[in-house]
């Protein structure tokens, strides 16, 4: 909770900082960007509402056990590939993603596979992509970024195999 508070303070502190910089450029600049930011907010709220309120239903029909099952002790590259698919398919927020990773580590999942899972989840968990990234960014960029990101969970797993356990 205190971490969340810290993040909020940093966040609004940054808004204040760049807002002040914009204000020093002149009142019209400040007003224009304030209006623009507010308009963006108004435009984005319906989509965020749909995503956040709807994501609970999506998470409810993809039970965590299914994802955890994919992260079994299957070592090697097939296990890494399964972990990448599992990371992309994991619904819900960071609590679910990291909890699944922890469960997999404790129940005998390989470390490179869990690293691949966490990295894949961070890079292109489908729910974050459709809920957050698509509303805010040009769709062309989002798909391009996701496609380009596909090799990197494998790269992370390879590095993990080379340098060993934490």
């Amino acid at each position: 909770m205190s971490a969340a508070l810290l993040i909020d303070i940093l966040l609004w502190g940054s808004v204040l900082g760049v807002g002040l910089l914009a204000f020093r450029r002149g009142k019209p600049v400040f007003k224009a960007s304030l209006r623009e930011g507010s308009m963006d907010f108004i435009n984005i709220v319906p989509r965020i509402a749909l995503g956040v309120i709807g994501s609970g239903y999506i998470a409810a029909i993809i039970p965590q056990e299914v994802i955890t099952g994919w992260l079994g002790p299957d070592s090697g590259w097939l296990g890494v590939a399964t972990a990448v698919v599992a990371g992309a398919a994991t619904p819900g927020g960071p609590v679910i993603g990291f909890s699944i990773g922890t469960v997999a580590l404790k129940s005998g999942g390989g470390v490179p596979q869990v690293v691949a899972y966490v990295v894949a989840w961070a890079l292109f968990a489908f729910q974050r992509v459709i809920l957050w990234e698509i509303p805010f960014m040009p769709a062309r960029f989002v798909w391009f970024r996701c496609a380009v990101s596909v090799p990197f969970p494998f790269v992370a797993a390879a590095i993990a195999m080379v340098i060993g356990k934490p």
Partner: protein, 203 residues
């Protein structure tokens, strides 16, 4: 950013002379429709399994989540708008544009790593960078850096759940990835859209 006054009029003029690409698009698009269908189908499945009560349980929980997130979304939108207004377009396209080289990718990575907040800040800010002249490569480096080596999610979620050792180790492994992803992005982009790249070069 460090010398705001001497070139005061330049950014404003710049912003007016070429209409800025809309950072955030219309509220309804095909992706919204897909999500709406996905949510409707999921909600129907939940209703069949758990009845009306199950549907309402999830609804109230997610509504409170939504209420908590809203102020942060506003902060993210304001941050994006201010940043796109105060960053001089010329400088951004020089230091984060298609010809910014490794330095541009490193700057994108550094920017993503220090950016505060969650997805509600990272994506509006990334979108603002794209709008003021950063290329896909540098922006990919920024987004990937935010998600893999940014401290926000690591401090708030990963360390408490997965432990400090695993988290730090995972971050060390991830260190080269943003630059590599940005480089790959640039490499592919130039080959996919050679014409657009040429246009960018002119500016």
């Amino acid at each position: 950013m460090s010398e705001p006054f001497p070139n005061n009029p330049a950014p404003a003029e710049d912003a007016e002379s070429e209409p800025r690409p809309g950072r955030i698009r219309k509220p309804i698009g095909w992706s919204t429709i897909i999500i709406a269908v996905l949510v409707a189908v999921s909600a129907a499945l939940v209703w069949r399994r758990d009845g009306t009560e199950g549907v309402l349980d999830i609804l109230t929980h997610d509504l409170s989540l939504f209420g908590g997130i809203l102020p942060r979304v506003l902060a993210g939108c304001l941050l994006g708008a201010f940043i796109s207004e105060i960053l001089p377009h010329e400088k951004v396209s020089r230091s984060l544009g298609p010809n910014s080289g490794l330095m541009g990718l490193l700057m994108g990575t550094a920017f993503g790593a220090i950016l505060p907040g969650g997805p509600f800040t990272a994506y509006p800010v990334a979108s603002a960078l794209l709008a003021v002249g950063a290329d896909f490569g540098a922006t990919i480096a920024m987004v990937v850096s935010w998600t893999l080596i940014g401290y926000g999610r690591a401090v708030a979620w990963e360390i408490p759940i997965m432990g400090t050792d695993f988290t730090l180790w995972r971050i060390v492994i991830s260190l080269p990835l943003p630059v590599l992803a940005g480089a790959l992005g640039r490499f592919v982009y130039v080959r996919l859209y050679p014409k657009r790249d040429a246009e960018d070069d002119e500016t």
